[in-house]
C-alpha cells in the first residue's frame, strides 16, 4: 500500500467518523431543544392555569356538586384560554370526580384511580405526549402529536383543591422545533461538507508533498553517492588525460598521437556524463557576472570534440549577457553535444541570436531529423532519453539552469530547434 492510498483510507475514516459524530451531535441538540421546549410549555401552561385560577376561581368551584352550574362557570372561564390547539379541557375535583368536561363527556364520573390525576393531586404537574396513532376518541383525529397536562390547582390553600387537565395539539410546537431541527441539520451538513472538502484537499496536498519528500530523499541519497563517485572518478580521469598529453608530447609517431586524442575524446565524454549527473543531483546556486554570447559559445564548443563532417555556424552578433557563465556554457554544451550525436552523417548546426524588449533569444538549429512528436514534450523530463548511452539528465539540467535564470527553454521541429530565452535584466 503506497502513501497516497494510506492517506486516502485515513481521510475516508476521518470523514466517516466526522459524518457519524455530526449526525449524533445534531440529533442530540435537536432532542435537547425539543425537551426544553416541552418543559417550557409545561411550565408556562401550569403557571398560567394556576395564576388565572387563583384570580377567578374559588374552592367551591371544585366541589363535585351542581354540575350544570359548574358547566356554565367553567365554560366562561375557559373561553379565554381555549384556542385552536386546545383539544379538550377537564376539571377534576379533589376526590377524582370529573366536574367539567368541554365535551360534556364523563361529567360526574369518578376516575380517582387515574395515575396521572393521582400524581397531580399530590402536587406534581405531569404531562404525557400521545402519538396520533392511538387516539382516545374521534375528536383527537386530524392532529399530530398531542400533549396532556395535569395541573394541580392550589388557589390559596396548602394542598391542591382540584386538577385542571388540558389536552392540546403539539402541531405548532412540533412545527417550530422541526424548523429548529432543519436549521441544526443544515448547519451540521454544511460543516460536514466543509470538513470533508478540507480533508480531501489537505489529503491530496499531503499525498503530493509526501511523494515529493520521498523523491527528494531518494535524490539526496543518490546525490551523496554520486557526488562522491564523481569526485573519485575525476582523479583517475585527470591522470589518464594528463598521461595521454605526456605520451603525445614524448612520441613522434603520428598514429600514437591520434590514438591519444581518441582516448582523450572518450575522457571528455565520460566527464560530460559525470557533469550531467552531478548538476542534476547537486544543482549549484547562480553566480551572475557579465559575459558575452561569443565567450559562451566558444567555451561550450571547446569542451566538445566536433567531427570535421559537422560545421557549426555562429551568430554575427555578440551581445553582452549577464548570467552564470559556467552554467550557461553547460547548457549550450549539452544542446550542441546532442545535436552532434544526432547528426551521424554530414550536417550543420546553426546558432542564431535575436532579442526582444525583455529577453535574449538564442536558437540552436540542426539539419538532422525532426524530434518525434511524442518525445518533444518529454525530452526535458529527468531520466527521459531516446539515446542508448544518455543519462537522460542533460536536457533536464539545461531546463533547471535556464529556469533558475528565470528564462525558458523549449524544443520545436522544422527545422529542429532549441530556443533559449534569457532575461536581459538578471539580478
Amino acid at each position: 500500500m503506497n502513501t497516497s492510498q494510506k492517506i486516502l483510507i485515513g481521510g475516508s475514516i476521518i470523514i466517516a467518523i466526522g459524518l457519524v459524530s455530526t449526525v449524533i451531535f445534531a440529533t442530540l441538540i435537536y432532542e435537547q431543544i425539543k425537551q426544553n421546549t416541552i418543559e417550557n410549555i409545561q411550565r408556562t401552561n401550569a403557571a398560567y392555569l394556576s395564576s388565572i385560577a387563583s384570580n377567578s376561581l374559588t374552592i367551591e368551584n371544585f366541589k363535585p356538586i351542581m354540575f350544570e352550574e359548574k358547566n356554565q362557570i367553567f365554560s366562561n372561564y375557559f373561553e379565554g384560554i381555549k384556542n385552536e390547539e386546545t383539544v379538550r379541557i377537564k376539571v377534576w375535583s379533589k376526590n377524582g370526580t370529573i366536574i367539567f368536561s368541554d365535551g360534556n363527556v364523563s361529567v360526574g364520573d369518578n376516575f380517582s384511580t387515574n395515575p396521572r390525576f393521582q400524581t397531580a393531586i399530590q402536587g406534581q404537574v405531569n404531562t404525557e405526549i400521545k402519538e396520533p396513532i392511538d387516539p382516545e376518541n374521534i375528536s383527537e383525529m386530524g392532529f399530530g402529536q398531542l400533549m396532556e397536562i395535569y395541573v394541580p390547582i392550589y388557589l390559596d390553600y396548602a394542598e391542591p383543591v382540584g386538577v385542571i387537565e388540558l389536552y392540546f395539539s403539539m402541531d405548532k410546537i412540533n412545527e417550530s422545533t422541526d424548523n429548529v431541527a432543519t436549521l441544526v441539520y443544515t448547519v451540521a451538513f454544511i460543516l460536514i461538507g466543509l470538513v470533508t472538502s478540507a480533508t480531501i484537499v489537505s489529503s491530496i496536498l499531503v499525498a503530493r508533498s509526501s511523494k515529493q519528500d520521498i523523491q527528494q530523499e531518494k535524490f539526496a541519497s543518490i546525490g551523496a553517492v554520486t557526488s562522491r563517485l564523481a569526485h573519485d572518478l575525476r582523479n583517475p580521469l585527470s591522470v589518464i588525460n594528463t598521461g595521454l598529453d605526456l605520451i603525445a608530447k614524448r612520441t613522434q609517431e603520428k598514429q600514437t598521437i591520434e590514438t591519444c586524442t581518441m582516448i582523450q575524446d572518450s575522457v571528455k565524454r565520460l566527464n560530460h556524463q559525470v557533469e550531467d549527473v552531478l548538476s542534476f543531483v547537486k544543482p549549484r546556486s547562480l553566480v551572475i557576472k557579465e559575459t558575452n554570447l561569443n565567450t559562451l559559445i566558444t567555451r561550450a564548443i571547446a569542451e566538445l570534440s566536433v567531427p570535421n563532417r559537422i560545421s557549426i555556424e555562429k551568430p554575427s552578433q555578440n551581445p553582452t549577457i549577464f548570467c552564470d557563465e559556467q552554467q550557461c556554457v553547460t547548457v549550450l554544451n549539452n544542446i550542441i553535444f546532442n545535436a552532434i550525436q544526432k547528426l551521424d552523417s554530414d550536417g550543420t548546426i546553426t546558432i542564431s541570436y535575436d532579442d526582444d524588449q525583455k529577453n535574449h533569444i538564442i536558437k540552436i538549429q540542426d539539419s538532422g531529423d525532426a524530434i518525434p512528436e511524442k518525445d518533444l514534450k518529454k525530452i526535458f523530463e529527468p531520466l527521459y532519453t531516446t539515446k542508448l548511452q544518455g543519462t537522460g539528465l542533460g536536457l533536464n539540467s539545461c531546463k533547471t539552469i535556464i529556469e533558475s535564470h528565470h528564462g525558458r527553454i523549449f524544443a520545436s521541429n522544422h527545422p529542429t530547434t532549441f530556443t533559449i530565452l534569457l532575461p536581459k535584466m538578471m539580478k
Binding site: A230, H231, D232, L233, R234, N235, P236, L237, S238, V239, I240, N241, T242, G243, D245, L246, K249, R250, V267, N271, L278, K282, R284, S285, V287
Partner: protein
C-alpha cells in the same frame, strides 16, 4: 625558470604533473599530500605557484588558504579540484587564486604558470 609546489593526496597526479613540468621546463620545488605540507613547502621555497588540491585528509586545501602568510604579495595558487559547490565558487573571488576543475587541462596549467611568470 617558473617554479611550482604541488600538493595533492593522489600520488599519481603529483607524479604525472612532475613529469609533464619537467618536459615544459617548470621547476618543481617540492611536493606534498596534505594542506599542512603545502603551508610548510610554500614558506620554505616561495614558489611562483602552488598547485593545490582541496579535498585531502586531515589538513585540506582550505586549511592551506587560511594559513598561508598573507603578505602584500600573496602566494599565487592554482586550485585543482573535483569538488563543486558554493565554497569553491567563493574562492574565485580571490585575485591570487585560480580554480580549475578536475579533470584539468594540463596545457592550461602550463600556460598560466608560464604567462604569469613572464609579467
Amino acid at each position: 625558470m617558473p617554479s611550482v609546489v604541488i600538493v595533492d593526496d593522489e600520488p599519481d597526479i603529483v607524479k604525472i604533473l612532475c613529469e609533464y613540468f619537467d618536459i615544459e621546463n617548470i621547476d618543481v620545488l617540492g611536493t606534498g599530500n596534505n594542506g599542512k605540507d603545502a603551508v610548510e613547502l610554500c614558506a620554505k621555497h616561495s614558489p611562483d605557484y602552488l598547485l593545490l588540491d582541496l579535498n585531502m585528509e586531515k589538513y585540506d586545501g582550505f586549511y592551506t588558504i587560511e594559513n598561508l602568510p598573507n603578505f602584500d604579495n600573496p602566494q599565487k595558487i592554482i586550485v585543482i579540484t573535483g569538488q563543486i559547490g558554493e565554497e569553491i565558487q567563493k574562492l574565485e573571488n580571490y585575485d591570487n587564486i585560480t580554480v580549475l576543475p578536475k579533470p584539468f587541462d594540463i596545457q592550461q596549467i602550463v600556460n598560466i604558470v608560464k604567462s604569469k611568470n613572464s609579467d
